[in-house]
């Protein structure tokens, strides 16, 4: 029985709470008994589900730099309404990944060592620096939204004055570490299966994160404008969809051309566990969504776009998991399947991310359709004419 005026009891809350609690217990077990007793990792398979999750989290958080670059560096101001959701997604994504990384480390108490003990030859060292710096950049980009809510305006002004170099730095850092996750595997040509190993791994990782990041933000804008007003007009959504299609096509061409050039045709044409995994990721994540997105009717339809971007995200997840797990199962002909504790920790952290997202969305102005009429700029918030950093005043230029 539903009573109209009372808040609805959602199914999501008990599920999320259960997952977070189970994840917490699993994490306690992991710290008490060590990695050996609680995970299925081994000397032959030292990286597993959690590393795959890191790739996934960082890739889906790529919207944080693509949208910021498009709106604030390339001045595509009409996309301003999705800047905040993009930054929030990135911020939460990076926080989760940092959490998983710390759980994954054998010595979590030494997590700060890369700060003081450098090795410039290590991709891992570069990634830890990029992650740390970019998380700081994201915190600064996200801070104004929180500060605005509590009406503390002076730090916003301060952040605003450094916003341009900050954003450029953020985009560069993202470019570097998004591709570096692929570079991690450059050193294992003898372990990673030929369908995934290529010297172009960093390039492919970068191209695919662009598509997945934009898809993720489109997906969010579709979910959160249900019933309410649209975050982006249909025309702009269709434009973003077109961009995704172009990126997918680019990825497909580079990947397949490279596979052929490296002589992996035999691997592609024989039916194995690996070729099946390869076709699954290519069809779900690249070919089918590309086929959908080139059709104008799909780009303009809410449901079509929803399906296509969801496919991109799922295919992207498959691609990263295949690179991190499936592709490495060739050596030493050993299979890996994550333990329950590994899975529970991952689910718990995912649930934590979704809960944090919905909590923040409820209490801070994240999803707000842009005002139809241009508002007068608050001089206290924005001292400089351009760019209007994280403030919600579309059509600024016409009003000045």
């Amino acid at each position: 029985m539903k009573i109209r005026l009372l808040p609805r009891i959602s199914r999501w809350h008990p599920i999320a709470t259960t997952l977070i609690l189970a994840g917490t217990l699993a994490a306690i077990a992991r710290f008490t008994y060590g990695l050996g007793a609680t995970t299925n990792l081994s000397d032959e398979f030292p990286w597993g589900l959690w590393i795959g999750f890191d790739f996934l989290g960082i890739g889906l958080a790529a919207s944080g730099f693509t949208i910021v670059a498009a709106v604030h560096l390339f001045h595509a101001k009409e996309y301003e309404p999705i800047v905040r959701p993009a930054i929030l997604t990135a911020f939460i994504g990076y926080m989760l990944v940092v959490l998983v990384l710390i759980l994954d480390l054998g010595r979590p108490d030494h997590f700060w060592h890369p700060l003081v003990m450098w090795n410039p030859h290590s991709v891992m060292c570069e990634i830890s620096w990029c992650l740390m710096l970019y998380t700081s950049v994201l915190s600064l980009e996200f801070a104004p939204i929180v500060l605005e809510r509590f009406n503390i305006l002076w730090p916003i002004k301060w952040i605003h004055t450094i916003s341009l170099p900050l954003m450029i730095f953020g985009v560069l850092l993202s470019t570097l570490h998004q591709s570096s996750f692929g570079s991690l595997y450059l050193i294992v040509p003898n372990r990673l299966h030929a369908l995934w190993y290529t010297p172009l791994l960093p390039v492919l990782f970068f191209i695919s994160c662009l598509a997945s990041g934009i898809s993720m933000i489109l997906l969010e804008s579709l979910i959160f404008s249900r019933g309410g007003r649209d975050l982006l007009p249909t025309r702009l959504r269709a434009n973003l969809a077109k961009v995704i299609a172009v990126i997918l096509a680019l990825y497909f061409v580079v990947r397949v051309e490279n596979l052929l050039a490296r002589g992996a045709l035999a691997e592609m044409t024989t039916l194995t566990y690996f070729s099946l995994a390869f076709y699954a990721e290519m069809l779900i994540g690249f070919v089918i969504p590309f086929g959908l997105l080139v059709v104008e009717r799909v780009r303009n339809s809410r449901r079509g776009l929803y399906a296509a971007t969801l496919l991109v995200v799922v295919g992207f997840a498959l691609n990263r998991m295949n690179t991190a797990i499936t592709g490495l199962e060739t050596y030493p002909a050993q299979t890996y399947f994550p333990s329950l504790i590994e899975i529970f920790i991952m689910l718990g952290i995912t649930a934590l991310g979704f809960s944090a997202f919905s909590f923040i969305v409820k209490h801070l102005p994240i999803f707000e359709p842009v005002a139809v009429t241009p508002r007068v700029r608050q001089e206290a918030v924005t001292a400089r004419p351009e760019p209007v950093f994280l403030t919600r005043h579309g059509g600024d230029l016409e009003s000045s």
Binding site: F31, G34, L35, G36, A37, L41, S42, D43, E44, P46, W47, A69, H72, L73, F74, H75, K77, L105, G106, R107, P108, H110, F111, H113, P114, M117, W118, N119, H121, S122, V123, M124, C125, E126, I127, S128, L164, I168, F169, V171, L172, T175, L176, S180, S183, L184, L186, I187, V188, P189, N190, P199, P332, T373, E386, P387, L397, E398, S399, S400
Partner: protein, 251 residues
């Protein structure tokens, strides 16, 4: 060290001496483990000794984010457990699958052959080389061992395959092997090649400074151009607005 497989009789004295030197449980082991830094594996009637190869350009040293692994001038690849953060990239990257991890510990470290670094410092040969009763493992300077190996191969070309494994494999290793059969038959990975593995990553890492400088200038430039363009557009719009009657200007 030079390991001549034709002289090895599989007595396993090397493993015993290694275990004694490193104070490990003395039971015999067939594979490398936390308690066996060297092990003999048998291929038909040949024994091949597995251990850390102490590469000249070590993959593990290059991947370690905190430089917990280091290559000493005298040869040993040393490990500092106090620096290690436990990312296990060395386990993933080592082309010979040498490092073993203390999975059951809550403060895990890696374990592997230390090339008896303390003994070398005292001018002694490694425990395994000293113990070897047949001379299958001998210790010496890399150059002189290479000469010795080349001499052995040319003296008895029918006995050996014409290859000194480790001379330039993955950029050269401190462990050199001579064998009567092709090395691929002994479980050596034939895909490794002669280029040091760290070169594969350096091809990507060396581009980082360029990405930062070129990317920074490019993004700054794009910002400037697009900003200028919208400023001009705004100015032109305001010019136009100036021509239209004032009451239409109000929002």
């Amino acid at each position: 060290m030079l390991i001549d497989l034709t002289l090895c009789v599989g007595c396993n004295v090397c493993q015993g001496a290694c275990k004694e030197e490193n104070q490990l449980p003395p039971r015999e082991e067939k594979y490398l483990s936390l308690t066996a830094f060297t092990a003999l594996s048998k291929y038909n009637d040949l024994y091949i000794r597995r251990m850390c190869q102490h590469c000249d350009v070590p993959t593990c040293v290059s991947v370690c984010p905190v430089a917990a692994l280091s290559k000493a001038e005298a040869g040993p690849v040393a490990y500092d457990g106090e620096k290690c953060i436990g990312c296990r990239y060395c386990l993933q990257a080592c082309p010979y699958h040498v490092p073993k991890y203390e999975w059951s510990s809550t403060k895990p470290r890696i374990q592997k052959c230390k090339f008896c670094a303390p003994r070398l410092a005292k001018g002694l040969p490694p425990a395994c080389a000293e113990a070897c009763p047949t001379g299958a493992t001998i210790f010496g300077g890399r150059e002189e061992l290479l000469l010795e190996a080349a001499h052995r191969v040319s003296a008895e070309p029918t006995k050996y395959v014409p290859r000194i494994y480790g001379k330039d494999d993955v950029g050269g290793t401190s462990m050199l092997y001579l064998s009567p059969v092709p090395f691929e038959q002994l479980g050596f990975d034939s895909r490794l090649g002669k280029i040091p593995m760290p070169m594969l990553t350096m091809s990507a890492l060396s581009k980082v400074p360029n990405v930062l400088s070129v990317g920074g200038v490019m993004l700054g430039g794009i910002w400037w151009i697009t900003n200028r363009r919208s400023e001009v557009a705004a100015f032109e719009a305001s010019e136009k607005k100036g021509e239209t009657p004032r009451h239409e200007d109000k929002p």
